[in-house]
Subunit: 367 residues, 2 copies
Amino acid sequence: SNKKLLVLPGDGIGPEVVRETLRVVDWMAKKRSVSFDVQEGLVGGAAYDASGTPLTDETLADAVDADAVLFGAVGGPKYDDLPFEKKPERGLLRLRKEMDLFANLRPAMVFASMADNSSLKRDLVAGLDIMILRELTGGVYFCEPRGIEDLPGGGKRGFDTQAYSTPEIERIGRVAFDLARKRRNKVTSVEKANVMMSGVLWRQVMTDLHKREGEGLEYENMYADNCAMQLVRNPKQFDVIVTDNLFGDILSDCAAMLTGSLGMLPSASLGAEDPTTGRRHALYEPVHGSAPDIAGRGIANPIAELLSFAMLLRYSFDMGEDADLVEKAIDNVLSSGLRTADIMQEGKAKVSTGVMTDSILKELDKL
Amino acid sequence: SNKKLLVLPGDGIGPEVVRETLRVVDWMAKKRSVSFDVQEGLVGGAAYDASGTPLTDETLADAVDADAVLFGAVGGPKYDDLPFEKKPERGLLRLRKEMDLFANLRPAMVFASMADNSSLKRDLVAGLDIMILRELTGGVYFCEPRGIEDLPGGGKRGFDTQAYSTPEIERIGRVAFDLARKRRNKVTSVEKANVMMSGVLWRQVMTDLHKREGEGLEYENMYADNCAMQLVRNPKQFDVIVTDNLFGDILSDCAAMLTGSLGMLPSASLGAEDPTTGRRHALYEPVHGSAPDIAGRGIANPIAELLSFAMLLRYSFDMGEDADLVEKAIDNVLSSGLRTADIMQEGKAKVSTGVMTDSILKELDKL
Ligand SMILES: CC(C)[C@H](C(=O)O)[C@@H](O)C(=O)O
Ligand SMILES: CC(C)[C@H](C(=O)O)[C@@H](O)C(=O)O
């Protein structure tokens, strides 16, 4: 059975980093005889330009049908004044919601050769490897009612609903426990149970779930504000952090920046496994955005997208060995001193997007 | 007219650091002939122990009646299993809401002698001085409806409402502009307008307000996730950050930890100025919590509370000179090498809570 891959390059540097990743896809076909059926689609501003919506129903259907989606990035100043529902990011949010990609895995890790890139002191981040697991289809991102209404005396009121249910919390909790079991057996669950009712329920359900299904796992509850502090103070205290959609958005970006190399961080967004077919929907995307300021200049860092592809191999196709290969090739090239502009440091060699990928491909040939 | 001060020491190290601050209040009476009518009250767990509620109506009335409230800290493991409405922090939240303390000023600054305490590299934080202005009486902290309901098929649903209105956004925006004018004339307004309707309104109202009333001020809108990243990447890019209650909670703690010395950060929570009397409600508290693990051992850092008192002098009584004195004394003592345990570093002298205050008082005598 052929592996169906939908690529959605999107906007800004999205197409540039996806193009590089497709070179690795080609390499895999030639050298490892793993071939993918690659289909391409439009999303974000690119889709809006072509069809007046950031995601067409057809593209959504293709995404649902694919074994995995490789996503670039969306957005750009050109689209800033579009109405809310037409904005590029609505395309991404719709994909997440309609494919029910509730589990967003955002590893924050530091390659040995990159520890000096962090704004944190070297010791605090060298060897860092934590996993932020963000609930991605619930909470304030999607709940109703929401809107902007006129106030009787003039002025307006903008409102949103934040909500979580027992089953939503349990299913993300189980993913956290599974991940921790393959890592260092520690789970930190994050909310604001001292302030929010959804947080009270979150803490209660997670704590109960840990008692029932978390045998052998160390478990702690932490407030979101404290978690932000602890990430800055001593990120290595964490293994898996599990949290809701909004806290996950902020805390994962905070953790990403701790590594000092945002241009290198991948993510996976996974749906539930179908109990009969074993299939699950999945979308892989770099943590960085579309970076319109550097788009089209050939200087973007392709590594986050390449590592997203490695996650795709691992989580969608159980091809852990091939994923290891890609990661190893990247590690070696970084150790050899090559850097794109965003991660450039004294004494290293600055290279373009294309040369970075060339070198990674050469390294793959050697491995 | 005598200055009415209500002190609410609270729990954990709260009473210890408030006690030290009262020594400076005494010093001011003796040496600067500024006297305060000091009244003391219970809040948090201490209030619950005495009367079954974390804030009595009487204490609330005293707080409303006072010219300023000096707050310690609340909370502790002893109270973890109390029902939501009895928890120590509800006392603090009720004070904020009923006194309408909508403007929470949280400076994140680094004393010259403390730059090495940060987990960030020295250059990134030396001389840091940013102000996080957090809206404190609206948003998901207080909006209705909120609750936990049973789901038809079993399980529960916890829900909260996040909302902001035009007048709420404008009044905190004006405070941000006023603060920036006394500082470096730059305001960054933070929300998630790409996801939340309250964020859409927030961005629109702030942007309009800046056009109407922000002459001479540099202004930018930023998403909350990006702000968390930028704080870690390069905190000195900011001057005043203005944001809502929940984002403010997380981002101010992140910023606080960047300084590496949480035990040194004060905050002020201010109400609106009464147009006829010029009075406004105000509460001053350290950013750190009740730290139950070190309570009662005489090792807590009194500086955050002392600096909160300096803010009290400045914002409630327009005694900027006296505030400067207190800050200067603290700066000198730190430069001389004294440190409490939480900020201890090689080559410095570790001292107790009491000795730290002794030294600050001696320094005040000299100034
Ligand atoms: C683009 C935006 C809607 C999105 C989010 O807020 O989830 C992004 O910040 C992310 O983290 O993937
Ligand atoms: C104690 C808690 C309710 C409070 C808050 O969330 O506002 C605290 O974290 C703070 O920032 O003052």
